[in-house]
Symmetry: C2
Subunit: 280 residues, 2 copies
């Protein structure tokens, strides 16, 4: 039977390419370099978390985070919470300075003028799609970033508080899309999340660590733009308007790999992460 399967696979004329093959074969034009000012680097004993900031979606929050990093507030911060199937949360150290002016609630933005690329598959929450390389959703003339695995948001207290960017979380579980439009999504993790997602879950309510000793210290926090050019890590994100991305989505929805008996015929927004790679 195994031999038969191998023979059948060999006989299939030009099987459609797998998603990984499409990504590997995509032309340079299908990629966008991440600006160095959008790359936040958090060094810990569990490696460096590389976060791509999303200034076009949460400009005030991103500006606040950049200012905190440059003021040294994040060096000496820590991972303070790990809740299974939900989030890892990390905080700047407490600042002695008075808070700046309140930030706006950058939870969504007008859809007008945005090149929203519909996913083309149903979504339980809204119309799913992509904007400028980001997983997003659209409804009633508004667009917002979707809480997929690895997306980074700003923790806050109850409304009207919107957070000040000094508490961030990254999603490490099934997409908590109910958080969409309720918090400021400010970016996504490009590298380093697996090690953080494997941190011990906190034992206090909501997965907070019980003691300071359990926290993972942030030894150093920097923006790539503040490093010497030669030292900057460089990343590229697939252009979600590129034909290669359409091919990638189609391959994720209809897996051609011989492992699959029944292609899904559809794909959930957060089950087709936008391809990311280190630039050469």
């Amino acid at each position: 039977m195994l031999l038969l399967a191998l023979l059948l696979a060999a006989a299939a004329p030009n099987p459609p390419p797998a998603a990984a093959d499409i990504v590997a074969a995509s032309p340079p034009a299908a990629w966008r370099a991440v600006p160095a000012d959008d790359l936040l680097l958090l060094d810990t004993a569990r490696g460096t978390l590389v976060v791509q900031l999303a200034p076009s979606f949460a400009p005030a929050h991103v500006a606040a985070i950049r200012a905190q990093v440059r003021a040294g507030d994040w060096t000496g911060g820590a991972v303070v919470r790990v809740q299974d199937n939900y989030v890892v949360q990390f905080a700047a150290r407490e600042a002695k300075r008075p808070p700046a002016a309140p930030l706006p609630a950058e939870y969504d933005r007008p859809a007008a003028g945005l090149a929203f690329r519909p996913l083309g598959h149903p979504d339980a929450y809204a119309e799913a799609g992509h904007v400028e390389g980001w997983p997003a959703a659209r409804a009633r003339g508004r667009v917002w970033l979707a809480h997929c695995y690895g997306m980074v948001g700003v923790g806050r207290e109850n409304p009207p508080d919107v957070g000040d960017g000094r508490e961030l979380y990254a999603v490490i579980g099934h997409a908590p899309r109910h958080l969409d439009r309720n918090l400021a999504v400010v970016g996504r993790v490009l590298d380093g999340l697996p090690a953080w997602a494997a941190l011990p879950r906190g034992t206090e309510a909501l997965g907070f660590y019980k003691t300071p000793a359990e926290r993972l210290p942030i030894a150093r926090a920097r923006l790539a733009a503040d490093l010497p050019t030669a030292d900057r890590p460089r990343f590229e994100v697939m252009d979600t308007a590129a034909p290669a991305f359409a091919g990638y989505l189609d391959a994720r929805a209809n897996r051609a790999e011989s492992f699959f008996v029944v292609p899904a015929g559809g794909v959930d927004l957060c089950n087709a992460p936008v391809p990311v790679r280190r630039a050469k």
Copy 2:
């Protein structure tokens, strides 16, 4: 502003209950005891993984797994693979016995005669819903268990292999629903997954551990039915046909907690896990 928000919250007449409140207030009739023969217990230094088997969906695979456990094949097994945002995989120790007759491909079953409760929200893959306490999907007269966080399936090689139940995986990331209908889903984790989901990710391809020393040994494997009655852990799963479950789903789709500014108005199948509790 904070005071104003508190006043407004206090003035809200009878806010709808939160999902947790609905679960807490649900009557005993809204719960179903898990049969002791369906409870697989895997003891490790990272705690006991409690798996509820799904004999009505994968009877041959579940029978094989029960026989392996009773033959002692799983005591001495190990966690062999942890792939971030995907699965933790665990294997029985290698058996010297010849394999039994091939198992059927229990990837789905006829919808006829099943009480499928539609979720009522769009799904990228099929019609989402619940059957007999399980997250499921339906299309073209067939029903299958959905690969939500914590669901357990049987690893296999390329078709026509269907696996023999000696390699199991539990989902620890965003629901890999493309696996639906392609593998035998045999159950779900009721307890103990957070500790396993926090295991170090394997460094080999697909997250396999490189060395045997990295594996987490399974010190003991048993079915609850084989323990003295007083020693059996007992779990209950919410009856997905109960009115309380409908209320729970509605509360998950429209969060009434004061934290939320905009209720989602929908909920993804895997973002509303079926409530589970230890029996008193």
